[in-house]
Amino acid sequence: MHGLINSAIQSFVCATYGRACWLRATEAAGLGFAEFEAMLVYEEGLSSRVLDALCADLKRPKSEFLEDLGTYLVSHPNMEGLRRLLRFGGVTYVEFLHSLDDLSDRVRLAVSDLDLPALELCELSPSEYELKCHPGLPGYSSVMVGVLRAMADDYGALVMLSHDGDRDGVEVISMSLFESAFSEGRRFDLGARKQ
C-alpha cells in the first residue's frame, strides 16, 4: 500500500485520537516502527493490520472509521493542500462530482505510483447521482462517503449520501442533491500560495 495512504491514516489518528492511540495500534499490529513515510510503498498486509488494530482499539466499525478519515482528508487544516487539489475538480459541487471520473488519472499525474480504483459517476437526474467505486482498495467507498460529504460542505451544497453496498464487486454510493448553493461554503482562491 502506498505510503501516502498509510500516512493519511496516521495523520488522521494522531490529530483525532492522539499519538498514544496511534502508538498502541502500531504496537498491536506488530509494525516494528511508528512512522509511515508518505513517499515509500509498504507491503499490502501492513495497512490492514494497522486498520484492524485501530478499529479494535477504538471499538468502532471499520466503515465508520474510514468515513471519518474521508471527512478529515477534506476538512482538517492539516489537509488544506488536498482539499485544494480536489477543488480544482470544478467550480460547483456538480462539476466536482463529474470530475471524479478523472480522479484516479489526476492522482497518477501527481504521484505516478499511487493507484486508486476507478470511480464512475452516473447522473440519474439533475438531483440524483450514483458513484460507482470499482474494486482494488478495500474500504475506498467508505472513505469516499466521508470525502463527498465534506466536499459538499466545502462547496456549500446540501446533499444526502448513502452507501448502497456492493453490486458485483462494485460499491455504490447514492447521492441526492437538494441544493447546490445551500450555504456559502469555503473560499477557493486559485492563486493562494502555501504559507
Partner: protein
C-alpha cells in the same frame, strides 16, 4: 462574411483574452479576461502599442510591422505595473482591416491568478490553465514530501556513517576509521607519528572487578587520551585494550616522548569504580612516518607494534621508539 460584432461574440466564448484591432492598431473589442487585468482602464479605443511592449520579436514597433506577424508567436508585457508577461498570436483579418490577437499567460499564469484573483470562469473550457495550476500544486506537494523524506534519510545515513567509524563503548574511532586516516595521510604525503598504546594490567581489573569496571576504565582511559592530544589527532580503539594514536604533522621525538610520558603517568592514576580502585598503566610504541622512504600503512603499524613489544620487554609503563634496522637506514 462574418460581421465584426459576431466575430467578437464568437471570440469572447472561445478565447477570453482576445483583442480585435483596426488597421491603425487601435483596440476595437477586448476579451473579458484580458479586460479584467486592467479593471480601471478602458482598453477599447487604446492603441495596442501604447498598452503593450513587444519583447520578441524585437524589431516590431509599428502597426504595419505588427500586422505582418501573421501566425508568429509574439512575447509582450504591459507597459504599466504589474508588468505581466503574455504571449500572443496575431491573425490579420482577411480584408486587411486589422487583426485579431489572442493572448495567453504562458508561464506567468502562476503569478497572474494571484495578482488578478482569476477564477476558473476566466479561462476558456478548453484552456489547460486550471490543469496546469492543479499539477503545479500536486507536484509541489509530492516534491515537498519527497524532500522531507530525503532529509530524514540523509540524517539516518550520517548517523550510520558515524556509527561505522566509531567505537561504541568509548566514542573513539574504530580500526576502519584508523585505516582510512592513515591511508589519507600517506596519500597526501603528510608526516605523522603513530603511537601504539597498550593498557597494562587491564585484564587484572576485568578479572577482579568485572566487566563493568573494565568498561569504566576504558572510558576514563579514552578520555585521558583525548585530553592529552590535539583535536586534529586521531585516536582509535583497535582491540580490547589496545589503542592507536595518530598525531598529524608531529614527528619531533622529544615532544612525542613527553606526550607518551604524560599519557602513561595520567593512566597510572587509580580509577575508582563503585568503591573499587582500579589501577592500570600503559606501554607505548612509537613509529614515525618519516622513518620510511615510502611509508605504507601496514609497515608503520608494524613498526609501532615492534616498538610496543620493546617497551613491554623493558618492563612496561614506558615508551619506545621504533629503531630503523641498520641495513635499511635512511
Amino acid at each position: 462574411m462574418i460581421e465584426q460584432n459576431d466575430l467578437a461574440t464568437l471570440l469572447e466564448t472561445l478565447c477570453p483574452m482576445f483583442l480585435l484591432l483596426n488597421k491603425d492598431g487601435e483596440i476595437q473589442q477586448v476579451g473579458p479576461t484580458l479586460q479584467k487585468l486592467r479593471p480601471d482602464m478602458q482598453m477599447t479605443g487604446t492603441r495596442f502599442l501604447d498598452l503593450f511592449e513587444l519583447l520578441r520579436p524585437r524589431n516590431v514597433s509599428t502597426v504595419p510591422a505588427l500586422m505582418s506577424m501573421a501566425g508568429t508567436k509574439v512575447h509582450l508585457k504591459f507597459h504599466d505595473e504589474p508588468r505581466t508577461a503574455l504571449k500572443g498570436l496575431v491573425a490579420p483579418l482577411p480584408t486587411g482591416n486589422g487583426a485579431v490577437i489572442n493572448l495567453s499567460f504562458g508561464i506567468s499564469i502562476l503569478d497572474a491568478v494571484r495578482d488578478y484573483a482569476l477564477t476558473s470562469a476566466d479561462f476558456s473550457g478548453t484552456d489547460l490553465a486550471i490543469e496546469l495550476l492543479y499539477l503545479v500544486e500536486a507536484k509541489s506537494a509530492a516534491m515537498e514530501a519527497s524532500r522531507s523524506l530525503n532529509l530524514r534519510l540523509q540524517g539516518a545515513m550520517l548517523a550510520a556513517e558515524e556509527q561505522a567509524v566509531t567505537d561504541t563503548l568509548t566514542g573513539l574511532r574504530n580500526r576502519r576509521a584508523m585505516d582510512h586516516v592513515l591511508e589519507h595521510l600517506i596519500a597526501s604525503k603528510l608526516p605523522f607519528a603513530l603511537m601504539h598504546l597498550d593498557l597494562d594490567f587491564f585484564k587484572l581489573v576485568n578479572d577482579r572487578f568485572g566487566h563493568a569496571a573494565g568498561d569504566q576504565v576504558l572510558k576514563v582511559a579514552s578520555q585521558i587520551m583525548l585530553d592529552e592530544t590535539r583535536r586534529d589527532d586521531t585516536i582509535a580503539r583497535v582491540g580490547g585494550d589496545e589503542f592507536v594514536l595518530i598525531l598529524k604533522g608531529l614527528v619531533d621525538p622529544n615532544i612525542l616522548a613527553r606526550i607518551a610520558e604524560r599519557l602513561i603517568s595520567r593512566l597510572q592514576e587509580p580509577i575508582s569504580f563503585q568503591g573499587a580502585s582500579c589501577e592500570i598503566s600503559a606501554s607505548i610504541g612509537i613509529a614515525l612516518s618519516t622513518q620510511f622512504q615510502v611509508p605504507k600503512v601496514s609497515e608503520v603499524l608494524h613498526a609501532a607494534d615492534l616498538a610496543l613489544y620493546e617497551a613491554k620487554r623493558s618492563g612496561r609503563s614506558c615508551s619506545c621508539f621504533y629503531s630503523v634496522p641498520s641495513n635499511a637506514q635512511l
